[in-house]
């Protein structure tokens, strides 16, 4: 049954500490494969017939530590398995090539603890189990980051990650506990029952807490501060899991709360989510374009895609508020499908980045180039990942974005001017996001894989080993499969969305896209075959260099140069603080050397977080001053306390 993924993962990671499993990579990967496949199978079965499976490993007095899987949980469990299996495959050789034996053991253990904890989150059926698994998930990911190394900078990033995660968790805990006075238990069933009859104030507080808590984990702007710091510094498989799956767990939590527990709410819930999604999507992609560290860039794209998912969720909430259930189902299905898709192609891309860093020892785009000729398979799958993430037709990203688009169109059918205007306009926002994403990935793939190599490392890059290729190929295949044959994948997801929003019928649009896309794909291939007849034999000639000799790779457009126009147009977003040093300083007009570099720090840290932290620390220092070493003052404190209490007793008590 679906849950056996969790115990078996548990055993496998315990067995790692046995020295005999020094090179246990393969065996463990096999174990996980079996477990995850079993989970997928079971999941798929009861994703269709909506039965619920229960498991209660331990009565952790006084809190029930129970697990059970409903369709939502199963969907996300499948997502977890579908990503973690290829990632495990990828890791088999990646880990062996990168880490010492001791670290390998830890890394495997933590990887599987991480996966198991995420499975635990989606399988939990009581708030307590949810929170425990949630916390362990955060810890395991932190541990994975720590394995990679702990230099000062990484430490700072990790610190920010853990701190923000913990704050978010606090909000989540609060969100669960606010139910208590009304549900008297943290069991999901009780919470669901109580959710229907909440006073509006509590409902609002709950929604805001859940939004903030899960938004922090999901990386909604401006709560995203940790995301582009934490993901790049993790080992590539871990980055893939964090960006591909962990964020989705946050989405799961939010869906669980907003749709399952609260069952929607007033329209402004939806507008809040919608606006947050739009902001995250736009800013995320804009920040991504400006990056030239591949993994940071991908991390920012996670922010963008989470934004797209939240666009869908917000639209769905709005539809529910106006009681347009079918449209709500469409939007929600789009969001859920995009969650799955993003999990697939984002982990694929992160694995690709891992393969690149594996063969070139850098993920700095400025040092790459010409990899397509040197690692063709990696290049091909990476290209598929790019096509999917920018939502080109015949790839999975398109299907989900299309559904969200269509749901925006549906906004015009509502009888509310705000919805009628805002939702269709969001289609424009989504289009802009898509266009910018396309630009960004032209840059990524073009600079990294095409043209001439920009460094020695890239010059001598070689294809990734078998297991890494296999892992990436699996994910790529999944992307294409969903892209050209969406019907099979849409059915369960749509019915899930229907059951969540209580829609009477499946939205017709889904059937439409499911029927059209295969035809388009067929036509596409046929035409490709026909047209390729027109090709002729190739001959190699040197690139045109305006007739001058010696075209070097330094003459190519760099990643920074490529993104310059967009950065110029959206200059207001970036607030880059440039540093220009003229040496020697005393003679600015006859400089010996001019050094220039621009650091683009997102202004959130400056404007939002720094003041808060500094305030707290300042308060602490003030308190510190009260602790004067003078014993007389201490005695005075005691007496003053006593006297004030006596006065309180006299006049109040």
């Amino acid at each position: 049954m679906g849950l056996n993924s969790q115990p078996s993962l548990g055993t496998s990671d315990r067995s790692l500490f046995d020295p005999r499993f020094r090179k246990a990579g393969r065996l463990i990967a096999g174990l996980v494969a079996v477990a995850t496949l079993g989970a997928c199978g079971a999941g798929g079965r009861s994703l269709l017939n909506s039965e619920v499976r229960k498991l209660n490993p331990s009565l952790l007095a006084p809190f029930p530590f129970t697990f059970s899987l409903d369709r939502l949980g199963f969907f996300f469990l499948i997502l977890i398995c579908a990503v973690s299996l290829p990632v495990a495959l990828f890791s088999v050789s990646y880990v062996r090539r990168h880490y010492s034996a001791a670290r390998q053991k830890w890394l495997w253990a933590l990887l599987f603890l991480f996966v198991a904890s995420m499975a635990g989150v989606v399988a939990a059926s009581s708030g307590f189990a949810f929170l425990v698994s949630w916390e362990i998930m955060s810890l395991a990911s932190a541990g994975l980051i720590l394995i990679e190394g702990s230099s000062g900078d990484r430490r700072h990033n990790l610190f920010i990650y853990l701190l923000m995660t913990h704050a978010g968790t606090a909000a989540v805990i609060a969100a669960f506990l606010v139910f208590l006075p009304h549900s008297h238990s943290l069991d999901f069933a009780a919470i669901r029952a109580a959710g229907a009859t909440l006073p509006p104030g509590v409902r609002m507080a709950l929604f805001l807490l859940a939004f903030a808590g899960f938004g922090t984990k999901a990386g909604i702007i401006p709560l995203h501060l940790w995301l582009p710091r934490a993901h790049p510094i993790a080992p590539s498989p871990a980055s893939a899991l964090m960006s591909g799956v962990m964020l989705k767990i946050a989405v799961y939590g939010f869906v669980r709360f907003a749709f399952d527990f609260l069952g929607g709410g007033p329209a402004w819930f939806g507008y809040l989510v919608l606006v947050a999604g739009a902001a995250s999507g736009l800013l995320g992609v804009l920040y991504a374009i400006a990056e030239h560290d591949l993994k940071r860039l991908l991390a920012y794209h996670s922010v963008e895609n989470i934004g797209i998912i939240y666009l869908g969720l917000g639209a769905s909430l709005i539809f529910m508020a106006h009681n347009a259930r079918v449209w709500a189902a469409l939007a929600l299905a789009g969001a859920l499908l995009h969650t799955l898709n993003h999990a697939l192609f984002k982990s694929l891309l992160f694995l690709g980045a891992g393969a690149i860093s594996d063969s070139t020892h850098t993920v700095d785009l400025e040092k790459l180039g010409g990899l397509q000729r040197r690692m063709p398979v990696t290049g091909a799958v990476f290209l598929i990942g790019c096509c999917s993430i920018i939502g080109l037709p015949l790839f999975n990203g398109f299907i989900s974005e299309w559904m969200i688009f269509r749901s925006f169109l549906g906004g015009s059918t509502l009888l509310n001017t705000n919805a009628q205007t805002l939702l269709p306009l969001m289609a424009g926002v989504l289009a802009l996001i898509g266009g910018l994403a396309a630009a960004c990935f032209v840059k990524v793939f073009g600079v990294a894989f095409l043209g001439r190599p920009r460094s020695q490392e890239a010059e001598h890059a070689s294809e990734a080993p078998l297991s890494m290729r296999a892992g990436m190929l699996l994910l790529a295949a999944a992307c294409v499969a969903i892209g050209i044959w969406p019907g099979g994948f849409l059915r369960p997801i749509v019915s899930l969305a229907q059951s969540l929003v209580g829609a009477p019928a499946a939205p017709p649009e889904t059937l439409l896209i499911a029927s059209v896309i295969p035809w388009v794909a067929a036509a596409f291939l046929a035409l490709l075959a026909v047209v390729s007849v027109l090709k002729r034999a190739k001959r190699q000639t040197p690139t045109w260099a305006c007739g001058l000799p010696g075209l070097t790779s330094r003459m190519q457009y760099t990643s920074t140069a490529f993104s310059k126009p967009i950065r110029f147009v959206f200059g207001r977003v970036y607030k880059a603080d440039r540093k220009r040093e003229v040496l020697p300083a005393d003679q600015p007009y006859f400089p010996g050397s001019i050094s220039y570099h621009s650091v683009r720090t997102t202004s959130y840290e400056r404007l939002l977080y720094r003041p808060f932290v500094e305030g707290v620390v300042a308060a602490a220092n003030q308190l510190r001053r009260l602790q004067t070493g003078n014993i007389q003052v201490y005695l005075l404190y005691i007496v003053v306390t006593l006297v004030s209490l006596l006065l309180y007793l006299r006049f109040a008590g």
């Binding site: 003078n630 007389q632 007793l649 006299r650």
Partner: protein
């Protein structure tokens, strides 16, 4: 027959006045030895008080307690203090944060406050009011001495005064607690003083002074 009762009653009513006097004097005292003497005087008054009550209420225990007081607080502890001063050879003056006059006024204020406190809190208690007031005043003065005086020794005196106050309170309100408890408390006080004496020596050895307000290495 009649004489004793009447004197007993007199003492009962009048002893608090003497206590207030000692309080004022202690607040104003500039020399350490004076403080010690005043303390033993104070204890003596209380001892008499205990004895009288014992006679009045026909309590055998009370005499034991009185004897203990005389033994410890009137004779023993002051003697120990004088020995301590001999051995420490520390300057005799009490370094105070407040001047003598100010301290005296503070003491006056506290006596007044204590009456107010007794009126407001222990209103229901049918104990001799000024006796209770004296007790509270003693407690407050003890605290005041500990807070305002910088010398470790004077802090010890302050503590003792505080104890006296509490003891007196117990006495005046409930004619003392069960004997064994009383004895235990005495014992604790004694050990506490011994320890403090020990620490005073250590302070002297490690810091070369007895000024507690200068011991501020540990802070924050």
């Amino acid at each position: 027959m009649g004489i004793l009762e009447t004197t007993a009653a007199r003492v009962l009513s009048a002893y608090s006045v003497f206590l207030f006097l000692t309080i004022l004097a202690q607040a104003a005292a500039r020399r350490f030895s004076t403080n010690v003497l005043l303390f033993s005087l104070q204890s003596a008054i209380i001892a008499i008080q205990v004895a009288v009550i014992g006679y009045h209420e026909k309590l055998m225990e009370a005499y034991v307690v009185a004897a203990l007081i005389v033994l410890l607080k009137v004779v023993g502890i002051p003697y120990a203090f004088f020995r301590l001063i001999e051995k420490l050879k520390s300057p005799r003056e009490v370094i105070s944060a407040t001047s003598a006059a100010e301290s005296a006024f503070v003491a006056v204020g506290m006596i007044w406050l204590s009456y107010g406190a007794v009126r407001s809190y222990a209103g229901g208690v049918h104990a001799p009011e000024d006796g209770l007031a004296a007790a509270v005043a003693l407690i407050l003065t003890g605290a005041f001495l500990m807070i305002s005086r910088r010398k470790a020794l004077v802090q010890m005196i302050g503590l003792l005064v505080l104890e006296n106050g509490i003891f007196l309170a117990a006495l005046t309100t409930t004619f003392g607690m069960p004997l064994i408890i009383e004895i235990g408390i005495f014992f604790d006080v004694l050990i506490g003083l011994l320890l403090m004496g020990l620490f005073v020596f250590r302070i002297r050895d490690t810091f070369d002074h007895l000024d507690v307000s200068k011991m501020r290495k540990l802070r924050g």
